[in-house]
């Protein structure tokens, strides 16, 4: 089967969408890119008009949000609880102070909080219990990939993939060869079918021009390495790569499994 592929610059990376050739392929790819752009608009830390920015300056009051944003916050909150705080999307204040995120008009008063700080009032309103700033960097790119896949399916695409700079999800009958970039080149680890995969790499020193960071709020350090996680949904794979970086070596694989992912370890294969 032939696949139509397109790529656009979105989410600060290059997003590729591929679908099986057919009369609706073009319009389904359009809707997939539109879905990614929508997630970006709603969950951008920098855009003062995004849902996320309005929540962050909500001053503890319930803030009306799009259901999509509430859904992401619900997922993030649940994963914060399940991971014992290793996944934590309330670290906006800490990242502002480190210079890894721009400080909005008013800086967060707390470096970070916990799951209880995100109060889901109802399906379209959320309030922050304490003055923390939420950042959805660790989950929204994967979530955008999931939305794009849903948009493709809604337009009748029965097979394809979305790859947002390494947050990848494959659906239908296609099985994509999965290669991991490692020091010295690429290593093929298998084929990915009807699953998502994400990778984060952590290194020990700040990189000029790349202030992105994973911060620990649980007292443990961040392990250096390349963390690849497979899961059914891209949001989970995305978020679990951050959890993997914060887990002790001995617990990593088992904990990721308990949280619904599969850690792809050095030398292991995807299937």
């Amino acid at each position: 089967m032939n696949y139509i592929r397109r790529m656009q610059p979105l989410l600060g990376t290059f997003v590729e969408v591929g679908v099986a050739e057919g009369p609706a392929a073009g319009s389904s790819i359009d809707s997939a890119f539109a879905a990614v752009a929508e997630v970006h608009r709603l969950m951008s830390y920098q855009d003062p008009d995004s849902d996320l920015s309005r929540l962050n300056r909500g001053d503890g009051r319930p803030v009306p949000l799009r259901k999509l944003t509430v859904n992401v916050l619900r997922l993030a909150r649940a994963l914060m609880q399940a991971s014992g705080g290793r996944f934590n999307c309330t670290v906006g204040g800490a990242l502002e102070r480190l210079g890894a995120l721009p400080t909005p008009a008013a800086a967060a008063r707390l470096d970070h909080g916990d799951a209880d700080d995100i109060v889901i009032v109802d399906s379209c309103r959320v309030r922050l219990r304490r003055p923390v700033h939420i950042t959805l960097d660790g989950i929204a790119k994967g979530f955008a990939v999931d939305r794009a896949v849903a948009a493709l399916a809604a337009r009748g695409a029965n097979s394809g993939w979305v790859n947002a700079g390494g947050d990848l999800r494959v659906f239908g009958s296609v099985a994509l060869p999965l290669s991991l970039r490692e020091p010295g080149g690429f290593r093929t680890v298998g084929r990915l079918a009807n699953r998502a995969a994400a990778t984060s790499v952590t290194s020990g020193r700040p990189q000029p021009g790349f202030p992105g960071r994973i911060v620990s709020t649980t007292g443990t350090g961040v392990s250096r390495g390349s963390w690849t996680v497979l899961a059914r949904h891209a949001w989970r794979a995305d978020a679990l790569t951050k959890v993997a970086a914060l887990l002790p070596d001995a617990q990593r694989a088992a904990s990721i499994r308990r949280l619904g992912g599969t850690l792809l370890e050095a030398g292991s294969t995807a299937q």
Binding site: P9, G165, L168, V222
Partner: protein, 180 residues
């Protein structure tokens, strides 16, 4: 929480997953022009020649140097009326060579961007930013600095920055050399 409680390490969400290859051709300039302007009945290819004065004006408007003396442009028309232009451009990042097309309206707005081909020039790590504002609707009036209105949460990659600069330059080129 004291600062020492944070062991701040760098997290680089890399394009470490590559599927299926690290070089790809997505579409031709003609296909991009047809995609951007589906209502067009005519697409006129032009090789725009830029004088030294025009290139200086582009630099002055955009802050980005116009290196090439020519630029490939497709002029989209419907019933003799101008719909806009598709401009094809290359960006050379530290690790990538990217050809992209931008659609620009007669009023100088970005209508869309498609990557035409994406090549990694060598096997180094590509660092990916987590977020960046997409370009649709941008005009020269918007401050087009990466760290001003194009969000740059995790630091843009060289190639992201190059695409940003490229689009900014093309908007200036439209004003200098394509305005009706």
């Amino acid at each position: 929480m004291d600062d020492a409680g944070y062991r701040a390490w760098i997290g680089l969400p890399l394009a470490a997953i590559v599927a299926p290859a690290h070089a790809a051709d997505y579409m031709t300039p003609e296909q991009a022009a047809a995609l951007f302007f589906p209502q067009a009945d005519t697409q006129v290819p032009l090789l725009l020649k830029l004088s030294k004065e025009q290139r200086n004006a582009i630099k002055a408007l955009s802050g980005v140097r116009q290196r090439d003396k020519t630029q490939s442009v497709w002029r989209a028309e419907a019933g003799g009326e101008l719909l806009g232009w598709t401009v094809v451009d290359d960006v050379i990042g530290k690790h990538e060579y990217i050809t992209y097309a931008a659609a620009i309206s007669p009023g100088g707005r970005v209508l869309g961007i498609e990557i035409l081909s994406y090549r990694e020039t060598h096997g180094g790590e590509i660092r990916q930013a987590s977020w960046r504002e997409h370009f649709v609707g941008k005009t020269l009036q918007n401050p087009f600095k990466l760290d001003v209105d194009i969000p740059n949460i995790s630091g843009a990659t060289l190639s992201c920055r190059n695409v940003t600069d490229g689009v900014k330059r093309l908007l200036a080129l439209q004003r200098v050399a394509l305005s009706p």
